[in-house]
C-alpha cells in the first residue's frame, strides 16, 4: 500500500470521516499510520503474528470509536498510539496470566534486558532530536523508562527484572522523566 501523510490536520479529517463510517477514510488512515502502529506493536509484543492480530483490533477500535476522538485533547497519532499501546499491553497481560496459569516456564522466556536495550537504541537512531534527548539520560534511566513504556512493567516488576532495590528503580524513573521532559519541552 502506498503510504499517506501523517500531517495532523489530514488525520483529523480522516477520523471525522471514519466517524461517519466512510470505509475509504479508514483505508487512507490505514495507509498513513499502519506501519508506525505496527512498529509499536512489534516492539511491545515481539511476535509478528500477535502484532498483526492486535493491529487488526486497533483499526476496528478506531473505526468504532472515531466519534470519541477529541482534537482538543490529543493529536490524532497520540490517540491512535495510545489505543495501540493499550491493546498490546492488555494482550501481554492476558498472555502472561495464561502462561503463569499453565506453567512456570514464563520465567525462562524473559529476554535479556540488556540485549533489548541495545536493539532499541539502534532503532532510535532514526530520530536525531529524540536520540539527543535520550543521550541526556543515564543508561539505567533510559532502560527503566523503555521497559515500563513498552512492556508495561510496574516498579516492583522492574526491580525484580533488573535485580535492583525498589527505591533505586523508582529513582531512575523519576530522574529519567525529569531529564526527558526538560530536554523535550522546547522541541515538542
Amino acid at each position: 500500500m502506498k503510504s499517506e501523510t501523517l500531517e495532523p490536520t489530514h488525520l483529523k479529517e480522516l477520523l471525522t470521516r471514519c466517524q461517519q463510517q466512510d470505509p475509504k477514510a479508514l483505508k487512507s488512515l490505514y495507509k498513513a499510520t499502519s506501519s508506525h502502529l505496527f512498529a509499536v506493536l512489534l516492539r511491545i509484543l515481539r511476535n509478528e503474528s500477535h502484532a498483526e492480530d492486535c493491529l487488526q483490533q486497533v483499526f476496528l477500535k478506531v473505526w468504532n470509536n472515531a466519534g470519541q476522538y477529541n482534537p482538543d485533547i490529543a493529536r490524532p497519532m497520540t490517540w491512535m498510539n495510545t489505543i495501540a499501546r493499550n491493546q498490546a499491553l492488555d494482550w501481554l497481560r492476558r498472555y502472561k496470566n495464561d502462561q503463569l496459569n499453565d506453567s512456570d516456564d514464563v520465567l525462562l522466556q524473559q529476554a535479556d534486558p540488556a540485549r533489548q536495550t541495545d536493539s532499541l537504541a539502534q532503532q532510535w537512531q532514526n530520530s536525531d532530536k529524540v536520540h539527543h534527548c535520550l543521550k541526556e539520560l543515564k543508561d539505567a534511566q533510559r532502560q527503566c523508562i523503555e521497559l515500563a513504556y513498552f512492556e508495561g512493567h510496574s516498579h516492583q516488576e522492574l526491580s525484580e527484572r533488573l535485580d535492583q532495590p525498589l527505591g533505586t528503580v523508582k529513582t531512575w524513573i523519576r530522574r529519567g522523566l525529569e531529564r526527558l521532559k526538560s530536554c523535550l519541552t522546547p522541541i515538542i
Partner: protein, 242 residues
C-alpha cells in the same frame, strides 16, 4: 549506576512538582495500584492534572514515533475491510421498504392520538428520539437529538443486514433541503454532526434512511432506496444529557 538518594516514599500529590511527575508515571503505568487509585481520584476533579497526563502522553510518544516504521503484510487490510463491511445474510430491500410503509401508517395513527392529547412538556428542551426499525420491524438503531441540537447520537440495537458494499445513510430534510448526516454504525454508539443551518429546525426535520453503496456521493438526487422515514418524537421525563 547507583544513586545515593533512593526514593522510597510514594508521591506526595499535594505538591505540584510531584503531581506532575506522578502524571508521567501514570502514563508509563508504573504507579502501584494504591498510588494509581489516589492519582485517578484526584485527576477526576482536576483539569490541570488531566492536561498534565495528556502532555506526558504527547511527550512520551517520542518513544513510539522514533521506532522505524514496519509495513504490515498486505493481507491484513483485507481482513479489516472484511470486518467493517456489513453482511448480506437475510437482506430483502423490498420487504424492508414494505414494512417501512406499514410502520409509517402506524406512526400516523400514533401521531393522531398524540395530537388529540398533546404531551405536557416543552418540546424545545426535551430529548427527541427516532427509532429506525429493521425489516423485521424490530428496533435496529435509536437516533437521539443532543440538547443543543448540534449532534445526533445513534445507538445500535440490532443493525439490519445489508448486501456487501452497501450502507444505511441517515438524511435529514427540512423544507426542500436535505443533509446527509452520516452512516448508521454496525455497532456501538456514533455521534453525527448536524449542519448549523438545520439545528434550529432539527426536531421538526424529517428523517430518511436510505440504502446506498459505501462510496456513493451524498447527493439527495441520487439517493438509494428509502427504507425508513419519519419524524422525531419528544421524550417526556428523560434525564440524559449530552
Amino acid at each position: 549506576m547507583s544513586d545515593p538518594h533512593h526514593i522510597t516514599e510514594p508521591y506526595d500529590l499535594t505538591l505540584p512538582e510531584q503531581r506532575h511527575l506522578a502524571a508521567g508515571e501514570y502514563v508509563l503505568n508504573t504507579l502501584s495500584p494504591k498510588e494509581k487509585a489516589s492519582f485517578e481520584a484526584l485527576m477526576a476533579f482536576s483539569p490541570d492534572l488531566q492536561a498534565d497526563v495528556q502532555q506526558w502522553r504527547e511527550q512520551l510518544q517520542v518513544l513510539d514515533t522514533s521506532l522505524k516504521p514496519v509495513q504490515p503484510p498486505a493481507h491484513l487490510w483485507k481482513k479489516i475491510e472484511q470486518q467493517i463491511k456489513p453482511s448480506k445474510a437475510g437482506f430483502s430491500l423490498k420487504f424492508w421498504q414494505l414494512s417501512a410503509m406499514v410502520s409509517f401508517s402506524f406512526s400516523l395513527a400514533l401521531a393522531t392520538v398524540l395530537l388529540i392529547k398533546p404531551p405536557m412538556m416543552n418540546a424545545d428542551t426535551a430529548d427527541h428520539l427516532y427509532v429506525v426499525n429493521s425489516p423485521e420491524q424490530k428496533p435496529a438503531w435509536l437516533v437521539n437529538t443532543s440538547m443543543d441540537r448540534s449532534h445526533l447520537m445513534v445507538q445500535t440495537v440490532k443493525p439490519a443486514s445489508l448486501p456487501d458494499g452497501k450502507v444505511c445513510k441517515l438524511w435529514l430534510k427540512v423544507g426542500d433541503q436535505y443533509a446527509m448526516v452520516g452512516v448508521l454504525p454496525h455497532s456501538g454508539l456514533s455521534k453525527l454532526s448536524v449542519p448549523q443551518w438545520m439545528q434550529n429546525q432539527l426536531v421538526n426535520a424529517q428523517i430518511i434512511v436510505s440504502v446506498d453503496p459505501m462510496d456513493s456521493d451524498n447527493n439527495p438526487d441520487e439517493m438509494g432506496p428509502v427504507v425508513n422515514k419519519g419524524g422525531f418524537t419528544p421524550l417526556e421525563g428523560s434525564l440524559r444529557r449530552f
